[in-house]
């Protein structure tokens, strides 16, 4: 790509980002509010919105919103609450599951040419990460099904359980025990499905279940 074109694109991208920074800041404030209990949300939404509105500069507004988001656990502690709420915990769990899936997918793609030549040490390094990815999904799945069961929503429970069973069936940890087929199992039967299941579960929790709760 010619340097001039690259400079123009970078310039356009940067200015578009700066233009959008206040909107991103608003979204971050909204996100911060959702991490607080309901009785505090209105108060802090008003306080934070008015404070950020009084700050000059789009990027400074965004910086302030990031600082606010980071301070939410401390505010929760000040009110005698756990630093993160249960729904945030689930969200972080789903995110970490997806992130690990993505990291493994990239690692698999990168080292694919080396399949068969890779020393067992490398697999020893990756198998725990793979298991961690699997276990975090497992915990998330159990939590979601249990919550739906407790809430007494049959449809929600069926939806979540189906997603959970799909996740378990896609993941085939037995193949990992055989090192000769370990790479094949990583690339074909685990990584992509794990990643997709992570996205599906997170979407389900963030949008479908929230809509049902309303």
């Amino acid at each position: 790509m010619p340097d001039l074109l690259k400079d123009i694109l970078i310039g356009l991208g940067t200015s578009a980002f700066i233009e959008r920074a206040p909107k991103i800041a608003d979204s971050l404030i909204h996100l911060s509010c959702t991490m607080l209990p309901e009785e505090l949300r209105d108060r802090y939404r008003h306080d934070w919105t008015s404070t950020v509105a009084c700050i000059d500069g789009n990027l400074s507004k965004l910086g302030a919103a990031v600082q606010i988001l980071v301070s939410v656990p401390a505010i929760r502690r000040a009110f005698g609450l756990a630093p993160i709420s249960e729904s945030t915990f689930i969200f972080l769990l789903a995110m970490s599951n997806m992130l690990m899936g993505a990291v493994l997918m990239i690692a698999d793609f990168y080292f694919n040419g080396l399949t068969g030549k890779v020393a067992p040490d490398f697999l020893i390094l990756w198998i725990p990460v793979m298991w961690l990815s699997f276990l975090s999904g497992l915990v998330l799945g159990i939590k979601l099904v249990w919550d739906a069961y407790k809430a007494g929503s049959f449809t929600r429970m069926i939806f979540t359980a189906c997603g959970f069973i799909l996740y378990i069936s896609w993941f085939n940890p037995d193949l990992l025990l055989n090192q000769e087929t370990a790479w094949a199992s990583l690339s074909d039967s685990t990584i992509l499905p794990t990643f997709l299941a992570g996205i599906a579960m997170m979407t389900h929790e963030k949008y479908f279940m929230r809509r049902v709760r309303r």
């Binding site: 008003h46 306080d47 008015s50 404070t51 700050i55 606010i68 980071v70 505010i75 000040a78 005698g80």
Partner: protein, 103 residues
């Protein structure tokens, strides 16, 4: 509730508020004066409010007439003012005894 531990951020907020002990302060002003970032200011003020050191109230103005959003003002309670002065004095004394004064 756990007793309030006077952290560096809390002391900086006390120092900023004690410039006008009877006055009303808003979060952004305190953030600038105390050099504590805006996120941390809200956490500090929440702790102080929970411990009865400060109280807060939203000002009663028309935002369009004032030309700015409505602010929440914080002010010391009677006991809070004494506690803040005491904590700040203790911190200054500790710093003087154990810090640069003997260097």
């Amino acid at each position: 509730m756990k007793p309030l531990r006077s952290t560096k951020n809390i002391l900086q907020v006390y120092a900023a508020m004690l410039q006008d002990p009877g006055g009303q302060h808003y979060a952004l002003e305190l953030s600038r004066d105390s050099r504590v970032n805006i996120g941390t200011i809200y956490a500090v003020l929440a702790r102080l409010e929970q411990h009865g050191i400060v109280t807060s109230a939203v000002e009663d103005v028309d935002p369009s007439a004032a030309g700015r959003p409505v602010r929440r003002y914080y002010r010391f309670t009677g006991d809070g003012l004494k506690a803040a002065r005491q904590d700040l004095a203790d911190a200054q004394r500790a710093f003087t005894i154990g810090g640069f004064a003997n260097a």
